[in-house]
Amino acid sequence: MTSKDIAVRVQGVAKSFGGTRILNDITIDFEKGSVHALVGENGAGKSSVGKIVGGYYAADEGAVEVFGQTVTRFSPRDALGRGIAMIHQELQLVPELTVLENVFLGLESNIRGFLSKGDLERFHTLEKTCDFGLDPHTRIADMRIAERQKVEIMRAIAREARVIIMDEPTSSLTEDEAERLHQLIARLKAREVTVIYVSHFLDHILANCDRVTVMRDGHVIRTDEMHGETKQSLVDSMLGEASEISWPALPTPPARQYAAAVEMEGVSTQTGLSDITLKVRPGEIVGLIGLVGSGRSEVGRALFGADPITAGTYSINGIRQDKRLNVRRAIAQGLAFVPEDRRKQGLVLTQVTRPNVSLASLGSIASFGFINKARERERTQRMIDHFGIVPGKIDGEVAYYSGGNQQKVLLSKWAVEKPRLLILDEPSRGVDIGARQRIHEFIIEMAAAGVAVLLISSELEEVINLSHRGYLMNDGRIFAEADCRALTVEDALNRIFREQGSAPRSKEVSQA
C-alpha cells in the first residue's frame, strides 16, 4: 500500500496524564474511505487515540500525519481545518439553538457578517445525503439523545469532513437507528470519507467495519482486516486470554402466587405512560423490553416516585400509594433506582467515593445528624471489595474513574443497604467487559437474596438473557408480557415492530 491511500497515520504516539501513561507507542494507519474500528476494554485507550486524531489531546511523543502532512498543532479547530471531525460520547451541541443553527454553527450563510437566507436550502441538500428526517427548527434541548447525535453527524458532514471519528456512536441508539447510522456510514465510505469507529458493540463493528485495531492497556495489540474476525476472536485479543461471552444462570424465580414487591394497575403519567399494569415479585428479575422512546425509563421513574402518577393505582409491598409519593418516600419503603446517565443523574463527581456511596442512606450511618465516620468507612470498604472497584480507595476521585468503576460506585450507593426493589436503567452502558460481567453477577446476586429487580436496557440481548419475565413496551404502553427464557431477540424485535405498525400513534415515534 502506498502512503497515498492513507488518510491518517499515527506513528509511535504516546500520551500521559498526571504521571499515568495512557498510550504507549501507538502506530495505526487509517486508510482512505475505510471504516476502521478501535476496540478494547474501557481504559484501553481507544477514545484517547480518537481524541489525539481529533485534536483534543496533543501527543507527547510520536507523530500524526494527515493526508501526508505532519500535524504540528493539536486543537479541534486545526483538526477541522484538516478535514477531521469528531463526534463525541458526550455530544457537543448548543442546547438553546435549533437543529439548523447547530448544523451550520460558524458556517452560517452571510453577507459581510450579516446573516442571510440559504441555510435552510443547504440543510435540505444535506438531508438528502443523511436521510435523518430531522426538523430543522426543533430546539436541541427538546430532542432525545439519539436525535442529537444525528445533528452532530450532520454538522460533521456540513463541514465536508474527510475523516469522521465516532466515539460510541450507537450507545444511545435503538437497533433500528443504529442500522440507519450504518447505512449512512456506507454512503460516507462511498464518498471516500474515512470513519474511525470507536465502540463497545462488537456486533456493530463486525457488521460494518472494514478494518479493526484491538487495544489493551494503552497498547495496540493488533490491526487486521475485519474479514475472518469473530466476536470471540476480538474479545480474546481485548482481554488477552480466551474468555467466554456468557450469561450467568438465573436464580429460581418465585412462585407466581408470591406477593408482589411493587404492583401498578392502569398507571398513566404526564411523561407519556398510559395504562401501565405490571408487578415485580421479590427474587424476580423483570425486564422492560422496548426501543428508545418506548417509555422504559419513564416506568422506572414513576415506580421510584420521581414523576407523579396521574391515573391508576400503585402499591409498594401491598401498601397503596397516594399523591404524596416522592423519591424520599419511595426510598424509605425500600426502593432503589440506578438512573441511565450516571454522570448527570447518579454521581456527585465533585465528591469522592465515600460520600457518593453514602448519599442515599445517610440516615443509617448517622445519629442525631452526625455521621459515624468509622462505620461509613467500613461500609464503603465493604462495597469496594464486593464490587472490586479500582482504584480501591475509600476516598478515591470518582471523577477520574473509568465508566465501569463509576458505575460500580453508583451501584454501591444502592447496594450498601439492601433494597426491596432495585430499578436498574442501562446498568452496563459504556462499561468494559469485566465490569459488565460483574454487574450482571450483581443483578443475579440481588435476585437470589430476595430483592425484586426491574431491569431496563436498550440492549435487548442483555435484558432478555438476564430476566425471568419481561414486559414488551411501545409508545408508553405495555402491549405484552413474555417469559424471557422462551424469548429470543429476533422474536422480541419482530413483535415490537409489528406493534409499531398496528398501534395508533398518539405521538411521533422517533424510531418509526
Binding site: 498526571g18 504521571g19 499515568t20 421510584f304 420521581a306 423519591v327 424520599r328 419511595a330 426510598i331 424509605a332 433506582f337 438512573p339 454522570r343 448527570k344 443523574q345 447518579g346 454521581l347 456527585v348 463527581l349 465533585t350 465528591q351 469522592v352 465515600r354 460520600p355 453514602s358 448519599l359 442515599a360 445517610l362 440516615g363 448517622a366 445528624g369 452526625f370 455521621i371 465516620k373 480507595k393 476516598d395 478515591g396 476521585e397 471523577a399 477520574y400 450507593k413
Partner: protein, 321 residues
C-alpha cells in the same frame, strides 16, 4: 483534619489542586514573613490579634456564605442583612433590652435569609437575581427603621460584646473561632453538610438519592442570614453606633474571601476554614498598606490582582466533571 475538605484532594494532587487548597495559606505565610521583615511593629501578638478582631464580622459571614456557595447558591444580600441587623440591634438595645440583642440580631438575619431561600426555591429563580433584589429591599428596610439617621448606642451592657476581652483576646475573636468550628463540624461531620455538597455538586443526583434539595438550600441561606445578623450585632456593639448603610459592599468582600479560599463558584467543593483564611489574607494586605504607609489606591488594586491569580490557579485545578 480528616474532613470532607480533604475529600477534594487525591493521591494525584496537581499543582492546580494544591493552589486551590493551600494557595491562600501560602500567600498568607509569604505576607507574614515579608511584612515582619519590613516592619518591627507588625509581628506582635497585639497587631495580629487586632487584625483578626477587626475582620471577625466579615469572617463570620464568610463562614456561612461558604455553605451557600458549596450548595450551588450565591448571596448578594449579606451586606444588606448586616445593615438591617445593625439598626435593629441599635433600636432594641436602646428601646428594649441590651442583652436581647444578642439573640434578636441573628434571629432577624435568619428570617431574612430564610425569605431569600424560600423565594429562590419556591419560584425556581437563580439565587443571584433573588438576592440582588432582596438586598435592595432589605437596605430599604434598614433605612426605614431609623428614618435614615444614626442610632448612638452607648450602653455598657451591650458594648462588652464588641469591645470586651479576656486577657488580650477580644470576645469577637472568640465568637469567630467558635462560629468557624461549628460551621466546620456542620459541613464535614453531619448529614446536612453532606447534602449541601451533593446539592451543589449534582442537584439531580441529590434529588434521585432522596435529598430534600429545596430544604437544604433554604437552610444554607438562613444560616448565611443568621451569620450576617450576628456580624451586624458585633459591629454595632464595637462602634456604639447603628447606621442603616452599615455593611455596604460587605457582600462582595465576603464573596471575594470565599473565592480566595478556593471554594468552587460552581458549587460542590470547598471548605470553611479556607474562607476565613481568605478574609485574613485581605486583612493582612490592608494592614500591610497601613504599616508601609503606601497610597491606599494600591490596596484594592493589589487585592483584586491576588483574587484574579487565585481564581486562575484554582480554575486550572478544577477541570473535571
Amino acid at each position: 483534619m480528616s474532613t470532607a475538605q480533604t475529600n477534594t484532594r487525591s493521591n494525584r494532587m496537581s499543582a492546580g489542586d494544591f493552589a486551590r487548597d493551600y494557595g491562600v495559606l501560602v500567600i498568607i505565610v509569604i505576607l507574614l514573613v515579608g511584612l515582619s521583615l519590613i516592619s518591627d511593629s507588625f509581628l506582635t501578638a497585639r497587631n495580629l490579634l487586632n487584625i483578626v478582631n477587626q475582620s471577625a464580622p466579615l469572617a463570620i459571614i464568610a463562614c456561612a456564605l461558604t455553605l451557600v456557595i458549596i450548595g450551588g447558591g450565591f448571596d448578594l444580600s449579606t451586606g444588606a442583612i448586616f445593615g438591617v441587623a445593625s439598626v435593629s440591634a441599635g433600636w432594641i438595645a436602646v428601646n428594649m433590652d441590651p442583652y436581647m440583642v444578642i439573640v434578636a440580631g441573628p434571629l432577624i438575619g435568619l428570617l431574612l435569609g430564610a425569605v431569600n431561600g424560600i423565594i429562590i426555591t419556591g419560584f425556581g429563580v437563580h439565587s443571584f437575581l433573588v438576592t440582588l433584589a432582596t438586598s435592595l429591599v432589605y437596605r430599604g428596610i434598614a433605612i426605614l427603621v431609623t428614618d435614615g439617621s444614626l442610632i448612638p448606642v452607648r450602653i455598657a451592657e451591650f458594648s462588652w460584646l464588641g469591645r470586651g476581652r479576656i486577657g488580650m483576646v477580644n470576645y469577637a475573636v472568640i465568637a469567630l473561632v467558635i462560629f468557624m468550628i461549628i460551621f466546620m463540624i456542620l459541613l464535614n461531620r453531619t448529614t446536612f453538610g453532606r447534602k449541601v455538597f451533593a446539592v451543589g455538586g449534582n442537584e439531580e443526583a441529590a434529588i434521585l438519592s432522596g435529598v430534600r434539595t429545596n430544604l437544604v438550600k433554604i437552610m444554607t441561606f438562613s444560616l448565611c442570614g443568621m451569620a450576617a445578623g450576628l456580624a451586624g450585632v458585633i459591629a454595632v456593639s464595637r462602634i456604639s453606633m447603628a447606621e442603616p448603610q452599615a455593611g455596604t459592599g460587605m457582600e462582595f468582600e465576603a464573596i471575594a474571601a470565599v473565592i480566595l479560599g478556593g471554594t468552587s463558584i460552581l458549587g460542590g467543593a470547598g471548605a470553611v476554614w479556607r474562607s476565613v483564611a481568605g478574609v485574613l489574607l485581605m486583612a493582612l494586605i490592608n494592614n500591610g498598606f497601613n504599616i508601609l504607609n503606601v497610597n491606599p489606591f494600591f490596596k484594592d488594586l493589589t487585592t483584586g490582582v491576588i483574587i484574579v491569580i487565585a481564581v486562575a490557579l484554582a480554575a486550572s485545578g478544577n477541570r473535571r466533571r
